[in-house]
Symmetry: C2
DNA sequence: CAAAAAAATTAGGCAACACTAAATTGGCAC
DNA sequence: GTGCCAATTTAGTGTTGCCTAATTTTTTTG
């Protein structure tokens, strides 16, 4: 069975739902109505209604009261949106002087308006990058994506040096803090101290020391020099 | 009386209506319902309905059965959209390798999605251009625009040499023809022949000769070396 | 200037998407 | 295993923005 070309143009709303569901069902857990509502800032009944429509469109499968999983067609759309979003972010930072804490909102709107042709031109201008400014992988045009497995900075053992590869937040203030602290992809950090009970970590970054909270350190993803 | 800040975000539709009405009421003629419908590809009743809403929002004034004129607030919105559209066109041609016949559709979608900040960054990258690739003037951020008066190529007297400054169409095929014929802004052309009754013109462009129809020649706008 | 044609408006609907309030279902505690 | 709480769905509404059909107004024309 070949995948249907999916001719009808999708609305912004539909694209946002699919993207949200994709994010929520990584690990192939079904996404729950309330999680989707939470992520999109909508009421649960709105989500219920849209979920029915999307399942009628063949973009997802819905088991009532159980949750929602994307179909292949739905996943294709979601990955296309993620590709657009991340390439737009990369382009805005690379060519238009945006900082990594301000690109998200702009990309969030542009991703729905941009043509396939424009996306490919941006990709070309950037040299087909594989990661966006936050270190998030950019899906290829065929929908393939390499989700690498990283270790959260919060879980790096005391004394070890790790290299930051990805920052898993789009919250502007956090990103600004991280940048000012020097905690950006590509940087090497050593864990100097780590208070118990989800307490703060003290890091050495080059010559400087920096303290950050446990929660934030969960969102800073690293590779370890000798992985275990 | 100061101009109200107009806080509410406008929809794509509203922005398109205001842009269309602005275009139609140059020369300060009121725009008719059917002209708006024609330009936007909508039915007349749809336009009637939207016109009422827009007049309630204070964006235009409507005299029933007579037509529609933008208010200062409406004109401000229209000019902002036109600025966006033309800057986007200029940017896509200047930085992303678009040709002048393909930028229109892309800009038509992006103009609704782009932030003020992004527009200003594009303008900066381009060096605050005053004209887009078709020679259309780009309104300044304060809404000022210099609509220069040009002479259509169709009205240049026989034997005279004129310089093309602007091409008044967004029709892709026409633009492609004009480009291939060498009839782009900045080019000097001499009118060699002009058949009567809106017949074709024969032009000399550098060393080459080119015949174009009267209708198209109406859309190619020029300045005459010694105006009259 | 009256009748026909053209233009505009009103009336009545529909689809997408959001909401709140009310009903239903499922899982867990006891 | 019954009862309760949380999650979910259904019911009923509102807004935007489009449509067609019917009506009204304006313009044109013989």
């Amino acid at each position: 069975m070949t995948s249907l070309p999916l001719t009808e143009p999708l609305t912004r709303s539909v694209e946002d739902y699919l993207k949200a569901i994709y994010r929520l069902s990584r690990g192939s857990q079904p996404a729950s109505t309330s999680d989707i509502a939470e992520l999109l800032g909508l009421s649960a009944p709105s989500v219920s209604g849209m979920v029915r429509r999307l399942s009628e469109l063949g973009l997802l499968e819905h088991v009532p009261y159980r949750g929602v999983v994307l179909t292949a067609a739905g996943r294709r759309v979601a990955l296309r949106m993620i590709r657009r979003h991340r390439l737009i972010e990369a382009y805005l930072v690379g060519y238009l002087g945006y900082s990594w804490d301000t690109v998200h909102d702009e990309a969030e709107r542009l991703e729905h308006a941009v043509s396939e042709a424009l996306i490919e031109r941006m990709a070309l201008a950037l040299g087909n990058p594989r990661f966006d400014p936050h270190g998030d992988p950019i899906p290829a045009s065929d929908g393939s994506i390499d989700e690498l497995v990283y270790t959260p900075l919060a879980e790096i053992p005391l004394g070890e040096t790790a290299e930051i590869r990805r920052v898993d937040t789009s919250h502007a203030e956090r990103l600004r803090f991280l940048e000012q602290a020097g905690l950006t992809p590509g940087t090497k950090v050593t864990v100097r101290e780590h208070q118990p009970f989800r307490g703060p970590l003290t890091l050495r970054i080059g010559a400087a020391e920096q303290v950050i909270g446990h929660e934030l350190a969960q969102q800073v993803l690293c590779i370890r020099p000798d992985p275990r």
